[in-house]
């Protein structure tokens, strides 16, 4: 295929992809916001350009792989001892990520036009969307760890803006703070990890830019690790420790245990944001970081059997399971999806952690499309029901009261108010079904390919507790199928349980993006399909082909990785998933009273799921009942009582007459005269005393 531009030129202009959204965000805030149409066109138009450009980059790299990695670095802070730089790196990994980010961003921006049309903050929303896109793309093209940290925090703050977008709501404001502070805890670890890593590789960098990911001359992370290992400043144990500390960053950003608590609350933000930031792109940044800085997580000699990766795999595996159990009992449609995101991100970490680099990134790629679509579907439902339930003010108020007081969920997001929507919203229903099947790992949809690859890599995995990890993932696959179909059946099947009557759905700017995203949700898995490998599997021949064609343009190290298909594992996980779907059918369509039975006979387990394993309660108790009161007490004791009094007392005593003088108006002048003459006197006296005695 011929590209319309020279491949070198396409890559040379890559910085535009980052710069333009920032510029658009800035001008929108500074004045363009006055025109809603201009804000929207500028923002969405830029994103369309970024989308095309990223696609061209991907194609250019496909055509001529020798073009990557290409990078440019600019000095940002230079002193004689170090050089921090910012730059743009273009390679396969980054190109894939850029395509994901720009595609989802583009569709979300189109969708926003429909979803936020009546909101007074419409233009502001577009400005934030642009700023987010710029930050996320900046993170994607980062040439070094430091730059990634820089944009890492910027995407975090955009997320904060957008979660708290409806600032009138206290819950939204609190969720925003929670997201930012929890992420700050992660960033603290990220920062400490970077500094520890720098300290261990101190003599290596010289005047080269610090912490570069890849460099033809070898002044990059891998080179630094080799050097430090040869110098003895870095051992396998210390590298593993550094990687674990640094992993706090991905833990927070990608909502992994125990820093996962912010993501469900982040659903307070408008739904387009949940789709873009809290499902498809930003939360995947943690996976991207681990993939980018993979050498740090390996052993110093480059093996994937490292303690660092084992930690990643285990955090991911446990999170995948815990989040799936929580999703079983939630009633807020957005939160069900949020917990499923947490769970799926866990899968991706297991992929990276067990050495299946390609599979982890592949799942990120597929998940971005179907999860974005699922969220946009939920938005369409919420939008639709919002209008349906608004029969008149009284009904709406009653609904609001019941929902918000007793259930803490807005009525239009509550699964208990839905049901039977398939007849009112056929387009959304089919899209949602595609997404649900895909995430459940239904055969031959995109989620099936990547998820099975991760499960099979956990099967092959030889690290600590590999059997448990494998079964954990298989069980989670079953749970995933169950809770996703639970949400699907509760929403679309049975009788409508909410107030008012929903209108019939029309083709609109809200459901067009859903249809567009349904295609990659079905098909993106085939990018990784390799007929050769399938043939070998079916004929029972010894596997020689690469299982995942995706690996052609996305691999770590110098050759595409070899990840064979495993028929047994595929069969196991597929059967478990189908069982999950079947169970959901029995419970929610055939009305098997499993739900009430669980509530009555498995109360503690049900509560564990319902109360999200009590993480929030523990953290709240820690800050509200312990940390703040202790701070208050200690501060009052030390600062107000001891320090202030001791220092005040001594100084007031030293300058005894000060107190008396301050009460008279004239006193000020006198006091000042005293100070002047006093100091002159002291100068003279000390000078006299200081004379040599001779």
């Amino acid at each position: 295929m011929n590209l319309p531009f020279a491949p070198q030129e396409i890559i040379r202009w890559a910085p535009l992809i980052v710069a333009l959204p920032f510029a658009v965000g800035a001008v929108t805030i500074l004045g363009v916001w006055r025109s809603r149409t201009a804000s929207m066109l500028l923002s969405a138009g830029t994103m369309f350009y970024c989308f095309l450009h990223s696609l061209l980059i991907l194609l250019a790299l496909q055509q001529d792989p020798s073009l990557g990695p290409a990078q440019t670095n600019w000095d940002w802070f230079v002193s004689s001892s170090f050089r921090l730089s910012m730059g743009v790196l273009v390679d396969h990994l980054c190109a894939v990520m850029m395509v994901v980010v720009t595609t989802v961003s583009l569709f979300v921006q189109i969708y926003t036009h429909g979803y936020m049309r009546e909101d007074p903050g419409y233009s502001r929303f577009y400005a934030y969307l642009s700023l987010f896109a710029g930050s996320m793309l900046g993170l994607t093209v980062s040439t070094n760890l430091f730059e990634m940290y820089f944009f890492w925090e910027l995407v975090g703050v955009c997320s904060y803006f957008l979660i708290g977008f409806w600032w009138q709501r206290n819950t939204a404001a609190e969720a925003g703070i929670k997201a930012f502070v929890v992420n700050r805890v992660g960033d603290f670890g990220f920062l400490v990890g970077i500094i520890l890593f720098l300290a261990a590789t101190a003599g290596f960098w010289g005047q080269h830019p610090l912490l570069i990911f890849s460099d033809p001359q070898g002044f990059d992370l891998a080179g630094a690790i080799r050097y430090a290992a040869s110098q003895g400043t870095l051992t396998a144990a210390s590298l593993a420790a550094i990687s674990m500390v640094m992993f706090m960053g991905p833990m927070a950003k990608s909502a992994q245990l125990p820093l996962h608590v912010w993501l469900a609350d982040a659903m307070e933000g408008p739904t387009p944001i949940s789709a873009l930031i809290h499902a498809a792109t930003m939360v995947a940044a943690g996976i991207y970081l681990v993939a980018r800085a993979y050498p740090i997580w390996l052993t110093p000699d480059g093996s994937t059997f490292s303690a660092g990766l084992a930690f990643v795999a285990w955090v991911g595996g446990v999170t995948a399971f815990v989040a799936a159990t929580i999703a079983l009992s939630q009633y807020d449609i957005k939160r069900v999806l949020a917990w499923s995101t947490v769970s799926q991100l866990g899968y991706m970490f297991v992929g990276l952690g067990t050495g299946a680099y390609t599979a982890g990134m592949f799942h990120l790629f597929n998940h971005a499309f179907f999860k974005a679509m699922l969220f946009l579907c939920s938005g369409a439902i919420i939008h639709h029901l919002h209008h349906a339930m608004h029969v008149d003010k009284e009904t709406r108020k009653k609904l609001d009261e019941v929902s918000l007081m007793d259930r803490m969920i807005p009525p239009d997001q509550d699964l208990r108010n839905m049901g039977g929507l398939k007849q009112y919203m056929p387009i959304t229903r089919w899209c949602f079904l595609v997404g649900t099947l895909s995430i459940s790992g239904f055969p031959f949809l995109s989620g099936f390919f990547s998820k099975d690859e991760i499960i099979s890599s956990s099967f092959k995995y030889q690290g600590p507790g590999h059997d448990i990890l494998f079964w954990l993932l298989v069980v989670t696959a079953g749970l995933t199928a169950f809770y996703m179909f639970r949400a699907y059946f509760l929403t679309f099947h049975g009788e409508y349980r909410g107030g008012g009557t929903p209108a019939a759905e029309k083709l609109s700017v809200i459901n067009l993006p859903l249809i567009a995203l349904a295609f990659p949700s079905i098909l993106s898995g085939y990018l990784g399909a390799n007929p050769e490998a399938l043939k070998q599997l079916l004929t029972g021949a010894a596997p020689t082909a690469m299982a995942n064609a995706f690996a052609q343009f996305l691999y770590f190290g110098h050759a595409p990785e070899y990840e064979a298909l495993n028929g047994g594992v595929m069969l196991t996980s597929t059967v478990v998933s189908l069982a999950g779907i079947g169970l959901a059918y029995l419970v929610y369509i055939n009305k098997l009273p499993v739900h009430t039975w669980c509530q009555q006979n498995l109360k503690p387990l049900y509560n564990l799921s319902w109360c999200k394993w009590y993480f929030d309660d523990m953290y709240m108790a820690f800050t509200q009942k312990l940390a703040l009161p202790v701070f208050n007490f200690v501060w009052n004791l030390v600062d107000m009582a001891v320090v202030d009094n001791v220092v005040n007392l001594s100084s007031f005593a030293t300058l005894g007459t000060g107190e008396a003088l301050r009460y008279s108006e004239n006193g000020r002048a006198q006091w000042y005269a005293l100070v002047i003459f006093g100091s002159v006197a002291v100068i003279g006296l000390v000078y006299f005393l200081a004379q040599p005695l001779s």
Partner: protein, 519 residues
């Protein structure tokens, strides 16, 4: 007038202004001081244009002998990249503060603006002085206008706050004076030819003094500067002074006055007494780290929004102590950046606190109750920006200093000493928890002021930013964003100086280092 007299011109503008305003009619005072403020900004721009950043020495030097007996005192000014950065900061923040004095300056404008000019003279003088006695006099001169500015235009407890400020600072001044004379006397012991108050010469001769002498001298100066900085346990004057001071004066106090202490620490404690700093480095780092966390913790339990910002200043000045104590090039570079960046950020924050106070007439966060965003959307944007800058968000200036200080202190030669290794690294990781706390208290403050449903008692009573308020906030925001995106604009001016100073100190470290790890 050629560039060689620029510094004298810069000092004369506010000094002449002090008297000119005092003698002019009341309604002219604001106009005159605005023009003078603009003139100072122009002069500092000229300085920047004529400055050669490649040189680590003093430039634009002017020296006139003033007193010969009993000791020589000169009028001696000059700047290097480090002082230039602070001079530029001073002129810009002063201009912003004058602009922000619109309402405060309505009572007794002549006296008010004249005092502001005197204050500016003193601050600029400190950054420009190359004679130690002149430095001391100008350093102490600041007390006079500051005392009156708080005591006349301040809040309800202004007398107490002004007196407390005076006593604390004066207490420090005595230590500085004693140290100054001690230094002069000790140099005399070494030989009459060494006896001088010339700061350029002092930087070369005083490092030759015996270690014990350096230690004593350094401690004397250090007490004075740590009080001004301020640092635990001398920090309690700051919240009181800030809470009572009027808004523009808080801007100057946090943005500029604190930097005098920081400047002294670097120029004098580090420049004159490198040997002492090698000993005191670990202690300074620990003190800095403690300040960062302690003050951040205190911010979480304040009920008064101005106190939160004031204590957050203490926390952020801890970065300077930490970076300085690390004795590493990155640490010092970061500390200097932090001085400038904090100058803009704290000025912006105090100004914004002032805008809310002007409208709600209370500083108690509980009484304000939230929901201000509805009636004050523009100010909300500026608040958000300043808040994020203060919590160290990348692309805003606060981030640069913090990150380089952390990096520098971790790579510090002090930490290479086996006895200190674990302690120093532990200290820095402890200090890093400050980034979590600062996010917590700043966002919580923002939430309690601006987020949430509109309060009934404020509806219809509040106005959004007026023209001059937008101007003040925009000036400061411009620098906060600009320095955050491209810090090289500033660092390229002072890096040679900072690098040379740390090299000098490190040359004296008795710690044996692996050559590859010297930072």
């Amino acid at each position: 007038m050629g560039p060689e007299h620029l510094l004298t011109a810069l000092l004369l503008v506010p000094l002449v202004g002090t008297f000119a305003i005092a003698l002019s009619p009341e309604p002219w005072a604001r106009q005159i001081s605005l023009w003078l403020g603009a003139a100072m900004v122009v002069i500092s721009a000229l300085l920047l244009a004529n400055f050669n950043p490649a040189l680590a020495g003093m430039q634009f030097v002017e020296q006139v002998n003033w007193i010969r007996w009993p000791f020589p005192v000169d009028y001696h000014v000059g700047i290097d990249g480090f002082s230039l950065a602070l001079v530029a900061l001073t002129t810009i923040v002063t201009f912003a503060a004058i602009l922000a004095s619109k309402t405060v300056g309505e009572t007794r404008p002549r006296l008010y603006y004249s005092m502001v000019m005197l204050l500016t003279t003193s601050i600029l003088g400190v950054f420009l002085s190359l004679d130690l006695v002149q430095f001391f006099v100008l350093y102490e001169l600041e007390l006079v206008p500051m005392y009156f500015l708080i005591a006349i235009w301040g809040g309800p407890r202004r007398d107490y706050a002004a007196m407390k400020f005076l006593i604390y600072t004066f207490f420090g001044g005595i230590f500085m004076l004693a140290a100054l004379l001690f230094l002069y006397y000790q140099l005399g012991q070494a030989g009459a030819q060494y006896q001088t108050f010339d700061m350029v010469k002092l930087a070369t001769v005083s490092p030759l003094l015996a270690k014990q002498v350096q230690l004593l001298g350094c401690l004397g100066f250090m007490v004075a500067f740590l009080i001004k900085l301020p640092s635990f346990p001398f920090h309690t004057w700051l919240p009181d002074a800030h809470v009572e001071a009027p808004t523009p004066i808080s801007m100057i106090l946090a943005g500029l006055l604190l930097k005098m202490g920081a400047y002294g620490l670097v120029r004098i404690c580090m420049g004159f007494f490198p040997e002492a700093l090698v000993t005191l480095g670990v202690g300074l780092m620990a003190l800095g780290a403690f300040n960062i966390v302690w003050a951040a913790m205190a911010c979480l339990v304040q009920g008064d929004m101005k106190r939160v910002i004031a204590l957050s200043s203490v926390s952020h000045m801890g970065f300077i102590t930490l970076g300085l104590g690390s004795l590493s090039a990155a640490g010092l570079n970061g500390a200097i950046f932090q001085m400038v960046s904090h100058g803009f950020i704290s000025a912006a924050l105090f100004f914004l606190v002032g805008t809310v106070y002007d409208r709600c007439h209370t500083r108690q966060i509980k009484e304000i109750g939230g929901g201000l965003a509805r009636q004050m959307p523009t100010l909300f944007y500026f608040w958000m920006l300043a808040t994020l800058a203060n919590l160290g968000l990348p692309a805003l200036s606060g981030f640069v200093g913090e990150v380089t200080v952390f990096y520098g202190s971790f790579m510090s030669p002090v930490a290479m000493l086996p006895a200190h290794h674990t302690f120093v690294h532990g200290t820095i990781i402890f200090a890093c928890t400050g980034v979590i706390l600062s996010a917590g208290y700043m966002l919580w403050l923002l939430k309690r002021l601006f987020f949430g449903p509109e309060q009934e008692r404020w509806s219809g009573h509040l106005t959004d930013a007026r023209g001059w308020e937008v101007a003040v906030a925009s000036i400061l925001a411009l620098f906060i964003v600009g320095l955050g995106i491209y810090p090289m604009a500033l660092t390229s001016q002072y890096t040679p100086v900072a690098d040379r100073m740390t090299r000098d100190v490190q040359a004296r470290t008795t710690i044996s280092l692996r050559p590859s790890q010297v930072d």
